[in-house]
């Protein structure tokens, strides 16, 4: 049931269109050069399943799950992805952006193929998280917060990930890697594609 651009059955379609333009401008992209994002049939079915979990008059409750689906499918939340989610949940795109931009784990820009999120909170820092961060930064040739030029790895210092017994620790593509040392990191990095 993908609703394509300009075919919105929503009577407020006109204002939706205006806000779409705003979303795109914010991301610095040309409006007419974009293609619409649509969910794969599999993800569309998952979204419909998710929508059943919330009262029909509270479709917006499915926003975080829908954004997760979009990010898993597209790699990040492009303006097109947020507009697609907005259409499906009958929200203004700006409301989708408003929510998406609040949460650290939603990426509004493309990241690397691999995602390193290193904890730099107290328990990890007590056991050398910052030494690890500097080592990673030198080894990858990027500053914390950046992505390598070949697009393979993003390095993000983050707050406590709730695995303090494995300090210092990080998540690599969501998987916990704990008790980090330079030797262990060298091994982990060498296995990345």
């Amino acid at each position: 049931m993908a609703v394509t651009y300009g075919e919105s059955p929503d009577p407020s379609g006109q204002s939706t269109l205006r806000q779409r333009t705003t979303l795109s401008r914010r991301a610095g992209r040309a409006t007419d050069a974009r293609e619409n994002m649509v969910f794969t049939p599999e993800n569309q079915a998952r979204l419909e399943e998710i929508l059943k979990r919330y009262p029909p008059e509270h479709r917006r409750a499915a926003l975080l799950p829908a954004l997760w689906l979009a990010q898993e499918q597209e790699g990040y939340l492009s303006p097109e992805a947020m507009e697609c989610v907005a259409r499906l949940l009958q929200l203004a795109p700006v409301h989708v952006l408003e929510t998406a931009s609040y949460y650290d784990m939603f990426r509004l820009r493309p990241g690397g193929r691999h995602d390193i999120r290193l904890c730099t909170n107290l328990s990890c820092s007590l056991l050398g998280a910052h030494r690890i961060l500097h080592w990673l930064s030198r080894r990858l040739g990027i500053e914390p917060g950046e992505t390598t030029r070949d697009g393979s790895v993003s390095l993000t210092p983050v707050q406590c990930l709730g695995s303090c017994e494995k300090a210092p620790m990080m998540q690599l593509d969501g998987r916990v890697e704990g008790y980090l040392s330079e030797e262990k990191l060298a091994q982990v990095l060498s296995e990345l594609s």
Binding site: R60, A61, E98, F106, L126, R131
Partner: protein
């Protein structure tokens, strides 16, 4: 945790395939639910939990049974939310419970839902807990296949759905009204209270929000009774408790004991003491938002009331241990980086104040303190604490106010000598 203590919450930890329902059932899983469905009304279950004196394990220590009693019966649907957004620095007990014994958590959710007559429970799980989300998803599917979830559970006539709802990385969403906003698809900003969630919660309906560990306590209360439960721990601080040990200890990890295990026993017996050749300098007993303690407090029992009397709090029981190589100004700055990053921005004192505090702490730590900075720190803290909508502001100033109170001379040293006295931390 004394030799007589028998693990209750973690008794499936380490058991092969304990996440599978067959294993859980063979070890007593869902027996509490079966018993309640066969023998008790919701009101009787609430009464039982009140008599057990169970207090919420999320940090505030509010009596669980009393909390449930606040939900009005006025025709609106009731909701249960399991708060699995564990994000307090130094805390990893709920994560441990979900990954080692997901069926215990689900059974706890079903019991609480039965007590408050909620047809739906949402488990709001922290976005970073990817592995735990997968484990719970599979466990929920198994529970459904075995008739413990959905319509007419085990033929009792009780209907209950339990859904996972994944957060996306925001500490503030652990605060219950911010969690509600987030679950409704909005930015996770706190609401003005009153009204409290018990009367106007999720989708405007009466809602109970309970922590994972709190809910995991329910099955044993049902199967073994309120008197047995009250025999564990101390007066008004009853039952088993998970403690998270991290930092400069030899064996960091989750340890279970009765409420009220002395801090000394936890650190030196269970977590193996400090690293070779080092001595204890400071310990944060309940996650980053509670006041730091020192060696003189080591005999304090780890329970709600004893820690309060000692000038700290049990909080989330995230015990962060620091040895003599740790600078307390550095520690306060590290934690302030966290609070500045996580402040949701709704209340000005917290949004602006955490940034100011971080700037002052960082220049002190780097030997660039300016005259009056220490007084300024105290003044900014004074203008945040108690002046925000949610407890975040109160928590955010604690690392500064408590290190200032107990390690004031270290701040003076940074000012006077224009350098940090310790070199063990980066």
């Amino acid at each position: 945790m004394t030799s007589a203590f028998e693990p209750v919450l973690t008794w499936n930890a380490g058991v092969p395939d304990a996440q599978r329902i067959e294993v859980s059932l063979s070890r007593g899983g869902y027996q509490g639910l079966a018993k309640v469905l066969a023998e008790q009304t919701p009101a009787e279950l609430i009464e039982l939990v009140k008599r057990s004196e169970l207090r919420g394990r999320g940090g505030a220590g509010f009596p669980t049974g009393a909390k449930w009693g606040f939900l009005p019966k006025d025709g609106r649907p009731h909701y249960l939310i399991c708060n699995a957004d564990e994000s307090e620095p130094g805390t990893f007990k709920d994560r441990f419970l979900m990954e080692t014994d997901p069926h215990l958590v689900i059974e706890g959710c079903l019991l609480a839902a039965y007590a408050i007559e909620a047809p739906v429970c949402y488990i709001y799980i922290r976005g970073e807990f990817l592995e735990q989300t997968r484990v719970l998803e599979r466990a929920l599917a198994e529970a459904r296949e075995h008739g413990y979830l959905g319509r007419n559970i085990r033929g009792s006539g009780f209907d209950c759905e339990v859904y996972l709802h994944r957060g996306a990385g925001a500490y503030e969403c652990g605060e219950e009204t911010a969690l509600l906003e987030s679950l409704e698809g909005k930015r996770g900003l706190p609401r003005v209270k009153p009204p409290f969630p018990a009367s106007v919660g999720l989708f405007g309906c009466p809602t109970a929000i309970n922590n994972v560990e709190t809910l995991a306590n329910l099955p044993c209360i049902v199967t073994r009774g309120a008197d047995w439960y009250r025999s564990i721990g101390k007066e008004k601080n009853t039952g088993p408790k998970l403690y998270c040990l991290s930092g400069h200890v030899r064996r960091p990890g989750v340890y279970e004991g009765p409420l009220g295990v002395p801090l000394r026993e936890l650190i030196f017996e269970h977590a193996g003491g400090l690293r070779e050749g080092h001595r204890l300098k400071a310990v944060i007993p309940g996650g980053s938002s509670v006041p730091v303690l020192t060696e003189e407090h080591l005999d304090t029992p780890m329970d709600f009331d004893s820690l309060l009397r000692a000038g700290s709090m049990l909080g989330s029981a995230g015990v962060i241990v620091m040895d003599e190589t740790t600078c307390m100004v550095w520690t306060a700055a590290k934690l302030m980086q966290f609070y500045r990053h996580e402040s949701c921005g709704k209340c000005t004192p917290c949004r602006e104040g955490t940034d100011w505090l971080l700037q002052i702490l960082e220049r002190l730590e780097h030997g660039q303190g300016r005259a009056g900075d220490i007084d300024l720190l105290a003044d900014v803290c004074d203008n945040i604490g108690g002046k925000t909508l949610c407890p975040f502001g109160d928590g955010a100033v604690v690392p500064v106010t408590s290190t200032l109170a107990r390690f004031g001379e270290e701040y003076e040293f940074h000012m006077r000598e224009k350098r940090c006295p310790t070199s063990g931390t980066d």
